[in-house]
Amino acid sequence: MTTPEAYDISCVVVCGADAAALRATVRSVLDQTLAGTEAVLVTAGADDTAASLAAADPQRIRLVHAGPESPACVLRDLGLAAARGRYVMVAAPGERLERHACRNLFEAGRRTDADLVAGRRDKAPAWHKELHARSRVVEDLADAPELVTRDSLSGGFCVRRGLLGALSGAGRAHFGVRAALAARSIALVPNLITTGCAPADPVRDLPRAADAQRDTLELLHGDDALRAARESAFLSDHVIPCVRAFLPLGPDDRREAADTLARSLFSLVTPEALGALPPVERIGVRLLTDGDADGVQAAAYALARPGTVVSPLVRTRDGRVRWSAEHADDDTFDVTELGHQYRQFTDLRLLNRVTHCLRQGAVLAVGGRLVVPLGLLDDRPALAARLDLSVRGGRAHTLSVPVRDVRQEDGGVVWRAELPLTGALRPRGIGDRVWDPRLVLTVDGVPVTTDLLADKSAVPTRATALPARPLLTRLTGDTWQPYVTATQHLAVCLLPRRRAARAAQALAHYVTHFRPARKLKPVLRTLRRKREALHSQRVKLRVYRRILSQLPVSRGLVVFESHMGKCYGDSPRAVHEELLARGARVRCVWSYATSPAGFPDGARLVRRWSWRYLWALARAEWWVDNQGFPHALDKPRHTTYLQTWHGSAYKRMGFDEARHRTRNAPERERLRRAVGRFDHFTVRSEHDVRTLARAYRIPEERLLRAGYPRNDRLVEARERDEREGRFPRPPLATQLGIPDHRTVVLYAPTFRGVPKKGQVVQLPLDVREFAERFGDTHVLLVRAHYMEAASLPVTPPGTVVDVSGHHDVSELLVLADVLITDYSSIMFDYALLDRPLVHFAPDLDAYAADRGTYFDLRKRAGGPVIETQEELLRTLARLKKADGEWQAARRAFAAEFGSYDGGGAARAAADLILGKKARA
């Protein structure tokens, strides 16, 4: 470069039509804390705003003129050529630089000596944040491929000016990618650089993005991996958002858009990139390249509401499910994995498009067309339908209107209804102003409910309004106005149109939004805060310590809790049932965390941390629990604490945990105090004594060597197996609908912690593959955290059952013929049943290194330890044959870890509780 470095950073801005946006950008450049920053404004033809800005500060603002009608990339290159800074950056009008942005970029550039320094922009997608999580220097693009495969460098970065001469390619290719390819090293910093980027309009921007994509792919021709990655990223970053954006477009707009976009996407969608997409996305993109406007909108609806059937699905001869009859031979349109074919008819969500909505005399005539998949109407079933109008906001107030005209028409259902809104729909007028209509279609007596998808153009405002007669007079509203919601559904709302109602509305608005409300709101807020403070944990704790725990004991009161109130199960339940069976004169209280559903009716139920809970704990004679009552609650003098614990230890626990040791002294003291409350601690074997008892510093005299009460059921089941065999299965099998001939496999992995926001958790086991291979002979019970269970795919009915919500896991263990787990403590209990056990732990080594373990699972396990899904399925297939090898190991495992589990644990615990009571 010949021009000397007069500035540290030059910011090139290509001026557009928006004067305010340009001013904002230029002001943000001048406001930089790095004073050596200049702005280079490039104008096509004359631009008054740019000229006046430059005149105001000629030192730091330079103006570059180009001929009118020059393309944006030419303008940008002119600006870059005129820049005089050590580094150059490009900002679009409207984008604002953060105040310290240039200083941070300059500092990072000098510190790392990089050719390109890039930071964050606001409202960027998650991958962009991930890329900039830490300061780092990238020398090989393979370490940060997003720099060239996605539009990571579309702003918020600066380039050493000397590098500009070395840029390859030109014209419309992405400037950021050209710079990244030429740079020797790239510094990535987590600093926020630009804000206020224009919101994306995928439909408008796609043609330009497609042009840039073509030229950018040219640049990447040497590297097939990067090229392929850019091709897929183009689909996910530009084309799929465009498909989604089709949902609100009206018929004419979407047809026009589909025509343009199909042309500009020509040859940019490769079969490989398309094949890697999930089914609905794949079909949406494909339909877009085909120019099928209505099809794309239907796909957009399915993307917005996952699980909706939006096309007349067909089943092929080989059992696959395809999008529609006309695409039945095309693999791109395969949607078998969505599992719609397995859903019950009533559970289907169907696309129901409103075709017309108009006022006819005193009624609203609505008609629509409903998609019915998989030839469900082939044998001409009896059809009936009704329209249900319900108040938005959950109140169960519904108006049903029969639909007189329902008939089948080329594969779908066409319906037409007349809604007598004025006479039939009589709202109060306050609190029930918005109503959502839904169509309930009944096929041979089986109902299915569908939402109504509507285009704005199908619901003209003036031609659909009807008079309304609310109960609280027409001052609350006088017109029923059908409209299209933000999610593109048809709804009806109550509006004030006449003068009286408008005046009443204005008055109400004044009262609720202006001075009266402003005076009242802080008072109410303070009162609410005071009330909340009275029920805060801090106050509760103080009352518990000072008052409640001083109260006298209530003889015979036993408080139970299992897994911090999450369920009615585990050992506390076994103890509770034993006490009930003996008819002991004790009063049992159970604590629940969120919902009392599933807890026994006979016991008193208290919510965890409620006043009643504290009252019960303070007065109880016994606490029985398997994890720990809140650490902050000290045990009253008169109470005895039976800690049954929730499982033998594989990973390091308590004071043995590295994480615990690094805590500071007060935190460690808190745990010590909490554990010091235990008066009796049940153990299953000497292994527990060596590990758990030592880890929690529980002295010898407090150990109850009786085994776990919850395991009595397992010991009993094993004895029954030996006596009578496995059948008939326990009643739970009938409840879950499991036939006798199927092998029951229970999959119960360890919970791996709550995922971060926006992160989707997946089970390590691919349930769909299991269903395909073993669906006919096995049934898989999945017990996982509810967040993991939520991601279970749809499978044929009766092959996979989610039992995560089941309260008592030992019932499930008794039911299971095989257990698959990783390193959950459930393995120690299941071994008592002497049934096959498989450890499926893809991340065993990482887990063991991270958490630390008491023994080597691979050496001591009672079943095969497996790391891949394929191996697991193979093992399951030949389980009967291979099980013989493991019998000895399994018995040794059970004997070692469950030596005290003799079936009398609940009895021993009950003796302890009642014996103490007798003495008292």
Binding site: D8, R110, R134, E657, A658, H660, T662
Partner: protein, 388 residues
């Protein structure tokens, strides 16, 4: 590039503002170390403390730079007169007196700042004094705030709120390492940089590493995790009967720690050395250095050990530790709290003299990237950056 150093001969007016100027502690030592360096580089340094300390550090009579304390003793914490206190004249009087003192302190500060030549910089070495700087007249002055602890440590205590309230407006907010700086940036600060502490001096003669001694230097306080060190040693001692663990330092936890040591039967191989002023001497008699802290900022002891060519085994408890020790190259790190892993590192270092020598020598070379000259250079670059 015109960047590197502002011409030193001109010098600037530098104010180093700390909680106290004469308190016994790491930050005060750092303040005077930097003051001496800046003064030596031709700057005019003025060290300002909010108040005079009770437990005083012995400072040399002639420091060569000015030292000022704004208050004779710790100023009272602000307590707005609220609730029933509004009826108490004493409360009003107390608050009035506090405000008057505050006004005087701020006026004094403003006067000092106004007298400064253009280009002056105030380095606020601790979080608290910023409360006074925010009130004072700092026109024309560049303000640099500093954190002397890891981000995670600040995040967990009351200082975090104070940082977020007072420092976004500073010209620069300095963390100890780039990793901490990244954490502050992710937290929403835009003016963040990183600046390491400087290693005071390099001992002439490195440790010969012949004595079979493992040493630990640090207060006997919970944060230093000596209890974990004793547990670790219980796993090492049986394998290394001829080695001794020397624990330098004093503190309130000493009786408990000695009891723990006796219970584990380690009395024969552990020596409690008490506080030492001769760190280099202690290191010269050791072959391995061990640090078992729960939390650290930019540990000086680790740097000093490396400067004496003593290889270190340490818990990887803060970014500062990772920044100083390059794991596997000039020292060995263990996951925080994992005593078995730390014992393993100690066994490797004590069992292999070649490894010890190689790591020790590399450590002595590598740690010099934190030498006073290099750190001073980074400061000069920072001053120049803020002026651009």
């Amino acid at each position: 590039m015109t960047s590197t150093t502002a011409p030193r001969s001109t010098g600037r007016d530098l104010f180093l503002v700390a909680n106290t100027v004469d308190e016994l502690g790491g930050v005060t030592a750092w303040t005077h170390q930097m003051a001496r360096l800046f003064q030596g580089a031709g700057h005019r340094v003025h060290v300002i403390g909010v108040h005079e300390a009770e437990l005083k550090l012995t400072l040399p009579a002639d420091l060569g730079y000015e030292v000022t304390s704004l208050y004779p003793a710790h100023p009272p914490t602000p307590s707005p007169v609220r609730g029933l206190n509004r009826l108490s004249p004493a409360a009003h009087r107390r608050e009035g007196r506090r405000l008057a003192d505050l006004g005087r302190a701020v006026a004094r500060l403003s006067e000092l700042f106004r007298a400064a030549r253009p280009g002056a910089v105030a380095v606020v070495t601790q979080v608290w004094p910023m409360e006074w700087l925010r009130e004072a007249d700092t026109a024309g002055l560049r303000i640099i705030g500093m954190s002397h602890e890891s981000y995670a440590y600040t995040r967990a205590c009351h200082r975090y709120r104070s940082v977020k309230r007072n420092y976004p407006s500073a010209d620069r907010w300095l963390a100890l390492t780039q990793e901490d700086a990244d954490d502050w940036i992710a937290d929403g600060m835009h003016n963040v940089g990183a600046m390491p502490n400087a290693l005071a001096h390099l001992p002439e003669i490195p440790s010969p590493r012949t004595a079979k001694v493992v040493c630990s230097i640090g207060r006997l306080a919970d944060q230093k995790g000596i209890d974990m060190l004793v547990d670790t040693w219980a796993e090492v001692a049986p394998h290394r009967p001829d080695w001794t663990l020397r624990i330098y330092g004093a503190g309130s936890d000493e009786p408990d720690l000695r009891r723990q040591c006796t219970e584990l039967g380690l009395d024969r191989s552990v020596q409690w050395m008490g506080r030492t002023d001769d760190v280099a001497g202690a290191l010269a008699e050791s072959a391995v250095f061990v640090q078992s802290s729960r939390g650290e900022g930019f540990p000086l002891a680790l740097m000093e050990a490396m400067a004496s060519a003593v290889p270190c085994a340490a818990f990887d408890c803060a970014p500062g530790v990772r920044e100083i020790v390059c794991d596997g190259e000039d020292g060995l790190l263990a996951p925080p709290g994992d005593t078995a892993a730390l014992a393993d590192r100690l066994l490797r270092l004590t069992g292999n003299p070649r490894l010890r020598d190689a790591m020790g020598e590399r450590a002595r070379v590598n740690v010099q990237r934190f030498s006073e000259e290099r750190v001073l250079e980074r400061w000069e670059e920072l001053f120049a950056l803020l002026e651009r």
